[in-house]
Symmetry: C2
């Protein structure tokens, strides 16, 4: 997605290790117009799917997901990391956070994920695939079917796509695929 | 806002204490079309303000804020409760969560909140005003000006509006004002 790739190269920063800082426009300060463009691109790429719900993870997956839900006229459910007092019965799993370097619970209320659901999972980053694995586990607990997974940015060198493929999930769309962050430079794969 | 009030009366539930469960359409499962309508209503109510940024709190404030940011063509910044590795220098305060019954940090990167900012704060609930107070403190640290505060639902009986007024913040718009949750029934004030 050219406009996204250009923006990452302009406003993104490569930090120590494999950290890509995009908090100027995606996951702290957000550019709503770019989020709308991202949602339009997801809509095109997943136009062949029959889904009835979008699932994401708080907090950085919410903005692209609500835009996509609006365009596709689908409800959006975000998995929570902590149970509020209003949550009465939930599917729960544990995931590791890459950027926060800790483990956390991930949960979805049993009211909003069932065996009738065919879901599209949306998130900001595909790194190792930990959050996606958490959503796979929650959907398995509920008997729901994941029809596709969409990520704004994939860090290809961390192997998340291969990790998910080994679990049988191959319908993955990433709008920008970073293949190296060496030497403080960001390298993004050219689009085919 | 009639469509919101009708939806709360239809799909909301009053739980023990002063808990209003709206996780079917606002803060777990989300209805994107309602979120768009909420954003349109906020835009009308705040049309007199000169603001350059929308500030919210993760996670449940993000959906209405990104919709409003899109309509008003403004960037949206969400305050985080935990520091990711990409956050290098931040304003930090501590807030109490009403529905999770715990304290948590609240932070905004110094890069995205400055003394040049005139902000509109958006959140899902006004209860005691704890989250709003956290945002007031972060804006004070940054020297930023809060021009208005908008909430989807206000629980009037918890006194948040009076608490904020005592701090000098009176430009508050709530799209549905609940004045009692007694006896498992939800009572919402009629619009003037």
């Amino acid at each position: 997605m050219k406009v996204l790739i250009d923006r990452i190269l302009q406003d993104g920063r490569s930090l120590e290790g494999t950290i890509l800082k995009v908090d100027k426009f995606i996951n702290h300060q957000m550019d709503p117009f770019l989020m709308k463009q991202i949602a339009v691109e997801f809509m095109h790429r997943f136009s062949d799917l029959q889904v009835n719900k979008i699932i994401t993870v708080e907090a950085s997956g919410i903005a692209p997901s609500i835009m996509l839900g609006y365009l596709m006229e689908l409800p959006v459910v975000y998995a929570k990391k902590q149970a509020p007092s209003t949550m009465q019965s939930a599917y729960v799993t544990t995931i590791h956070s890459f950027t926060k370097n800790n483990d956390s619970d991930l949960m979805i209320s049993r009211e909003y994920l069932t065996s009738d659901d065919h879901v599209l999972f949306i998130d900001d980053f595909l790194s190792y695939g930990y959050a996606a694995t958490g959503i796979i586990e929650l959907c398995q607990q509920a008997g729901a079917t994941i029809e596709g997974m969409g990520f704004i940015i994939e860090k290809e060198m961390l192997g998340g796509r291969k990790f998910l493929a080994a679990k049988g999930f191959t319908r993955i769309e990433s709008l920008a695929i970073v293949d190296s962050l060496d030497n403080d430079t960001i390298h993004i794969k050219e689009e085919e």
